[in-house]
Symmetry: C2
Subunit: 516 residues, 2 copies
């Protein structure tokens, strides 16, 4: 190890190799579900290259000394393990210094960036130049575009599937080779960020949620700045209305009439705070709750539809949507926020708190998060059961009951995030109000949730590093054929097993037995 | 070989193994650019399994005897090599009998099918049941949904990127193992056709345009039947207007205001037949042609914008589009076809010939093709230079000049197919009016086009099997790093090199030297 660190220093300079306890401590996962328990793993050192060539050299050195590398870029990855967990002796490969914005094109609407570029960085770059494109930030704007997309994060605008909206990669393989995918394999390619596939097998996907390479550049499609945004609210009175609500909504989404992401919320759980409600809820039946929301002039379920585009088109889309939802007896509609772009600084300041998550201005996104600071909120995202449930009515209903598994044993919440062509992901978060509650018991509940979900045919799409094997275990069709395929690829691409061993349940050969 | 054929017979039955000259002749490529030349390769035999388990057994037998398999499904693959080319002794693995439509869901808008299912089959299935979903056929409706998507074919509706609109695969690997990708790796998955990625590395892409496995099932997203279709025509008067036309169009596409595929056509090349024009064209300058089209009340460039959705929304979208294009002096607009759905049989019959390619009713799509029969038309699709050029204005212009490379040496045509988030693919087709012209000279021109394109940073996205190595050769960044990665994957997944050796330029180890 010490020899490897010396060689890393020769590549990146002494000041960019970190091995003191003080420095390495910064790479710990502040919200580890094993915090202060023996299972908490801490990296041994970190190295921060500035260029692709340095990444190539680092990977080669790591291969020579069989030192595992855990790649991170920028952002905090809170809830998903921060920079950590892997066999002891791991070195964090920290790409934060590779933060170049190589191109932003507002005629063909794309960007090409390095891993250290955050949503904030790209947003500022665009604002400073007055370019007419929008980014699609997830809730926290401090994260890496590349990191978020590779882990299959999402945002709120029509570009919300960040991995699907990428176009072209540059990847350093474990052997130190640099590959460009898609049209990037053509020297001097003119269309690297315009056409995804290139010629022959399309390899990009295998570098997402994986440990097959180190992505050093990635292209992203951007949304042309829309003329307007409008939010229309749909409220339906009965619990059973969820079925019709979701069916109509799916049709609008899959037709492209609604293009963003939104949530179906149970008003009594997510509506405005109301002391009266607390009293009503004790022992309340469904019909009690239906009566309560009716008295308040609210719906049992609330759905905010986001629209982006020319004002005239939005007006027609909202009118069409209202016609469709009018099949549900007792449905109510409300016009919500309405903006035309570009917003002035003053107009931005007037957007009420918590500011809309859709807002592509990341400082708001950050505000939204920062109004609820403290570990318990972060923990809400933590051993986060991001489960892909079915969007069918049964799926929605069962998704809700499923959330009840945990309801007497920990604080929790569930909402239905529905976005185009994705199932209702019933995102169950743990809201634990004290730190002491977040350890053993919650881990146990979380593992039960994974199993209960799998029994229903649902699976998680990402998780904290601590639970990756648990979730990979559930994807077991044909005696884990997909995992065996992943392992075949891992052995071919990283025979020494130096890249992020165990990430997403994929272990290199020499450590596979340890998993079992 | 004879022992292998006997074992194939034991798996699928004697009647589904073909080895007589008469039978095998049907698997020849009727439009081979090497037809009747010594280079034309003909398969040795064919085997047609009926089920996944039979595919597994066939692959294992082929592995044992090191017999190359070339997988086809249904359709003709005209222009792209039919069933052919590979080392001698190849057996065609013909999946046409696996033609089950496993599920069509018109609430969540997807289908799950086997490789032998054609667009016709799925269309009829949907019509017979009155389901409210549309398929997205490419020009010929006889092809396989799976075959077309794996080769990255496209259609005309918002679901036009067939590979991107797939969701979930079942694949038989060279070792006979069956893998289900995405959520399908979860036993009893409820969301296999709803969420693409599942958990961990996303492998689907590596089975497209590849020889890494045999895809035996695939899910596809479908478009909910729209309320209406409308086509609006934009005509601009000057050759130089192409730049503004494409820029505005790109913004509309990338904003989702226009959701289908369309073409920018040069009126003098693609307008209605006109004997007067033939006279004008001889030695005509650009300004002559501009004057000519102006006199005719036409535009120099013509763009038909397709709209799908609620009538009110379409009206607003078209109005917005007209406002945007009004920046171009002298622009003209015409309202084109307008339909509301479902169409009656009578209304369908009234659609003028050639019937719209957008029409999701494949019998029309077929009509469109069948009105121009004969090899010369098919040859128009043949050594088809499907080049991904840049959508930037320079790209468009250069794409046009580039087409001129060939113009004195063969009949040709070029149009610009522009679809959302794709570059203008300047699709250059050879139109050769006699069979004799389609051999040596055209091959030579085609190879020159590949090189000329690569020098400009453009590359082909698919081609006839005869030119796969030529095109793979152009994707040479970093000493062919991507091809070396493809080869690493090939060696890991198919060490005996039995699956479609050489497909898309990916050869197994033992045949790699032959390529060089």
């Amino acid at each position: 190890m010490s020899e490897a660190l010396r060689q890393f220093e020769a590549v990146v300079g002494k000041e960019w190799v970190f091995s003191s306890d003080e420095d390495v401590d910064l790479y710990r996962d502040s919200y580890s579900p094993f915090w202060h328990e023996p299972e908490e793993r801490v990296p041994s050192a970190a190295v921060a290259p500035d260029a692709v060539e340095q990444v190539q050299q680092i990977v080669r050195i790591a291969g020579k000394y069989k030192i595992p590398l855990w790649t991170i870029s920028t952002g905090k990855n809170l809830g998903y393990g921060g920079s950590r967990r892997t066999p002891s002796g791991t070195v964090v490969l920290d790409l934060k210094r590779m933060n170049r914005i190589i191109e932003v094109n507002d005629k063909n609407h794309y960007a090409l960036v390095e891993p250290g570029v955050s949503y904030f960085d790209l947003y500022r770059h665009i604002q400073e130049r007055g370019l007419k494109v929008w980014i699609d930030p997830p809730d926290p704007g401090w994260g890496s575009l590349i990191g978020n997309a590779l882990e299959r994060g999402g945002g709120y605008t029509p570009m919300r599937d960040h991995f699907d909206c990428h176009c072209g990669m540059e990847v350093v393989l474990a052997n130190g080779d640099v590959v460009r995918t898609g049209m990037g394999a053509l020297p001097n390619a003119r269309t690297w960020q315009q056409y995804k596939y290139g010629f022959g097998p399309a390899v990009d996907g295998i570098f997402s949620q994986s440990n097959f390479g180190v992505v050093t550049k990635m292209g992203f499609w951007l949304l042309p700045e829309p003329e307007a945004y409008f939010s229309g609210t749909v409220m339906v009175p009965k619990e059973d209305d969820i079925h019709a609500l979701v069916e109509i909504f799916a049709r609008l989404l899959n037709s492209g009439v609604v293009q963003g992401t939104t949530s179906v919320l149970k008003t009594v759980d997510f509506g405005p705070p109301d002391p009266q409600l607390a009293a009503v809820r004790v022992g309340a039946s469904t019909s009690d709750l239906e009566r309560y929301v009716a008295q308040k002039g609210l719906g049992y379920w609330t759905l905010d539809l986001p629209f982006y585009g020319p004002s005239k088109v939005i007006a027609a889309q909202w009118e069409h949507a209202k016609e469709q939802f009018s099949w549900i007896p007792g449905v109510q509609f409300r016009d919500g926020a309405s903006y035309t772009f570009p917003l002035t600084r003053e107009a931005i300041e007037k957007i009420p708190e918590p500011r809309s998550a859709w807002n592509p201005e990341p400082h708001h996104v950050c505000d939204r998060r920062s109004v609820q600071p403290g570990p318990y909120v972060v923990f809400a995202d933590h051993p986060d059961d991001r489960c892909r449930g079915a969007r069918s009515d049964q799926g929605v209903r069962a998704g809700l009951s499923r959330s009840r598994i945990a309801d007497r044993r920990a604080s929790w919440s569930a909402d239905l995030v529905v976005s185009s062509r994705e199932p209702s992901s019933s995102s169950t978060s743990f809201l634990s109000s004290t730190i002491s509650r977040r350890t053993v018991r919650n881990r146990e509940i979380f593992r039960r949730l994974i199993k209960a979900a799998a029994e229903h045919g649902w699976g998680e799409y990402r998780t904290h590093t601590a639970f990756m094997d648990d979730i990979a275990e559930a994807y077991s069709y044909n005696n884990h054929a997909l995992r065996r395929l992943h392992e075949t690829l891992k052995d071919a691409l990283d025979p020494d097993g130096i890249l992020a061993p165990g990430k997403n349940g994929v272990w290199p050969k020499r450590l596979r037995r340890a998993r079992a």
